[in-house]
Amino acid sequence: MDFTIDSEQKALVKAVRGLITNVYESSEARREVTKTEPGFAAWDKLAEMGVLSLPFEASPVEVSLAAEELGKVIAPDPFVEAIVLAGGLIEALGTDEQKKQYVDAIAGGEVLPILAWLEPGKRWSTQASVTFADGKLNGVKAPVVQAERADLLLVTAALPEGGTGVFLVEGATAVETAVTNDGSRAATVTFGDTPAVQLGEGGDQTAALEVALDRARIAYAHEALGAMETALTTTVGYLKTRKQFGVTLNTFQALNHRAADMYVALELARSTITWATIVAADEDTTPEQLATAASHAALQVSVAGRHIGLDAIQLHGGIGMTAEYSVGHYASRLLAIEHLVGDGEFHRARLAATVGDHDVFDPIG
């Protein structure tokens, strides 16, 4: 059992941190970027540094380390959405030809793929209502993060013979975009006899889809961990400097105890989330084990993310409510992550479905 990272991984962390804190040097700089289209600014640099190729060339550990650094500054670039999730699916399911066509281009930042899997009125099910028949897609996907900016959509759809397949759509589709709560973009995408080609060999691809989602959940969890850490650090810094009644806020025990509880939540979340990455990186891990680890991590993100994100606002007082100040954006991003891949109740229910199968859960068994 080892939770530590090696020197190469440390170097990666340092490099990503250097890059990303240069692009998003302040909360204000990030805000300027999210105000202008397409809402992110580090993509080309991340591609140059090789960060966008990590899911294709390195292990989930490196992917998570990068995601955590992006989370620390809540970089709005869709690393997990486009690279880990959509890119991961192409890598997992694509034909040799498709991989040749897309993987290098994705890693190089030239093609931005997005998975359109969520649907209006549904929660986080991989069962699709959008249909595929005779080479055409019909139906609506929403929300689809960064759909308007995407060069390639991966669309999940119900197959005539049953099951869910993944289909590729390049170029224009009917897209209606909104700004998301965390400053990103998400769209409603309508398919009306939209031509699409199947990804890979076709057939029911639900299992691969679930695996890709679980890997993305774990990467998101690391992004959330980075965000939680910054939210706490920022809050602690504020408590030490902000004066009220002639003294700094850390004079008040009630406030310190709330900060201590945030730290407890952060460290417990860190343990589970790090462990989930180690599970994902282990070659012997089964899809069921991966799903369990992903849900444990996602549940921690939901509970700890809200606790830390919202208490960060509370402990800042009114300033925490303002768009000019950073902590509110952290809470907002944490909330968005939770809703992209399943909220607390969703993952609690997933865990509840198997919790009676064992007496004691052994994470290192």
């Binding site: 059992m1 080892d2 939770f3 530590t4 990272i5 550990v61 602690v236 408590l239 030490k240 850390n250 025990q253 310190n256 105890h257 900060a259 201590a260 509880d261 730290y263 407890v264 460290e267 417990l268 979340a269 343990s271 589970t272 790090t274 462990w275 990455t277 180690i278 599970v279 990186a281 282990d282 444990h296 549940l299 921690q300 109740e345 609690r348 229910a349 865990l351 509840a352 479905a353 919790v355 009676g356 007496d359 004691v360 859960f361 994470p363 290192i364």
Partner: protein, 371 residues
């Protein structure tokens, strides 16, 4: 990063599991698993079974029966013990007074007390807290005045857990009332509980049980040779004692064992579906706690406690209580006469003793967050 234990640690885990499930009498393990109250005799026999296998005092110096284990091995030892329904060695002996005598005591004290302490031939009680000195321990007032070859002890201790079974009590006593700081002028003194002038009075608790006591000292004469280390240095030894036992502070194995009981009970009562979400939530938190305990154990160098120990204490006590709450709820109306309800009430203590959770938050705020 690596998921599994090393082959060596895995083998160690198997060895521990094998020992605990075969070498500790079944009646005692059953009592623990069923959340029963152990008799003095059962606690003694349990520890003696561990001691016979060399597993009662692994944290001590090797020459006195300790093991040169890593922190991770000590963690595994403790978790496997709890999962097997084996009561950990009596803390007063194994993790409190034993290490203090072994580290600061004279050769004579070591020889006289350590083997008997490891084997629970002597049952130690802890005499630290006083009515006005709980978390603020340095405020203690019990005095020991030197008179020839003896100390004369006067005062009162309280919250003396299982003091009714005690043969000896280790105490903090004030030997220099004029010391400039209240942490100074305190000594660490060993007292035979059969001494004249020493009385033990039971305190009944809200669960109806009797596990804590008051201990009164009325001109109790204690041989000066029973002083551990130097006079007026007791605070140093007490800090060593309190910082020493971090292993097992989270009680993960114990909570896992009882959560497994809760699952079984929910199934028996036909309400598993209804409780599955709550059980999954607790299991999720327990997993986080266990992984954190592993991080702390694997990350600790030497005997220095990891600063995140307070995290383990806070969350560990909260989860002990959460599992206990669940078990009571699963009793339904039977709860009002149930043993589980007594345990529920009794478990309020875990967030109070050993430095209350509020004190732990102070430690996190002060030493980790720098607030």
């Amino acid at each position: 990063m690596r998921l599994q234990l090393s082959a060596e640690d895995q083998a160690f885990r198997e060895e521990m599991r094998e020992f605990f499930t075969t070498q500790v009498p079944q009646d005692i393990r059953d009592a623990v698993i069923n959340r029963g109250e152990l008799t003095r005799d059962q606690i003694v026999r349990s520890q003696q079974a561990l001691n016979a296998g060399g597993l009662a005092v692994p944290g001590w110096p090797v020459e006195w029966g300790g093991k040169d284990w890593t922190q991770l091995q000590r963690h595994i030892w403790h978790e496997e013990m709890q999962l097997a329904g084996v009561m950990p060695p009596l803390a007063f002996n194994a993790s409190m007074v034993g290490p203090v005598i072994a580290t600061f005591g004279s050769q004579e004290l070591k020889e006289r007390f350590l083997p008997a302490t490891a084997n629970l031939d002597i049952w130690w009680s802890q005499g630290f807290s006083e009515p006005d000195a709980g978390s603020d321990l340095a405020g203690l007032r019990t005095t020991a005045v030197r008179d020839g070859d003896e100390y004369v002890v006067n005062g009162q201790k309280t919250w003396t857990t299982l003091g009714q079974y005690g043969d000896w009590i280790f105490t903090l006593v004030r030997t220099d009332p004029d010391a400039p700081k209240k942490q100074m002028g305190i000594s660490f003194l060993l007292i035979d509980m059969k001494s004249e002038g020493l009385t033990v009075r039971p305190i009944e608790l809200i669960d109806g049980g009797h596990e804590v006591n008051e201990v009164f000292f009325d001109n109790v004469r204690v041989p000066a040779e029973n002083l551990v280390g130097e006079e007026n240095k007791g605070w140093t030894y007490a800090k060593f004692l309190l910082g020493n036992e971090r292993v097992g502070i989270a009680r993960v194995g114990d909570s896992q064992l009882h959560l497994a009981s809760a699952k079984k009970k929910a199934k028996e009562q036909g309400v598993f579906e209804q409780y599955a979400s709550r059980i999954a939530d607790i299991e999720n938190q327990l997993t986080a706690l266990e992984l954190t305990a592993l991080r702390v154990a694997a990350g600790s160098s030497g005997d220095k406690p990891h600063p995140a120990s307070s995290v383990l204490k806070i969350k560990g006590s909260q989860l002990t209580q959460a599992v206990s709450d669940l078990l009571v709820d699963l009793e339904g109306p039977a709860a009002i006469t149930s043993r589980d309800t007594r345990v529920f009430l009794n478990n309020r203590k875990v967030s109070i003793y050993g430095g209350s959770n509020e004190i732990q938050r102070q430690i996190i705020a002060g030493t980790i967050l720098g607030l």
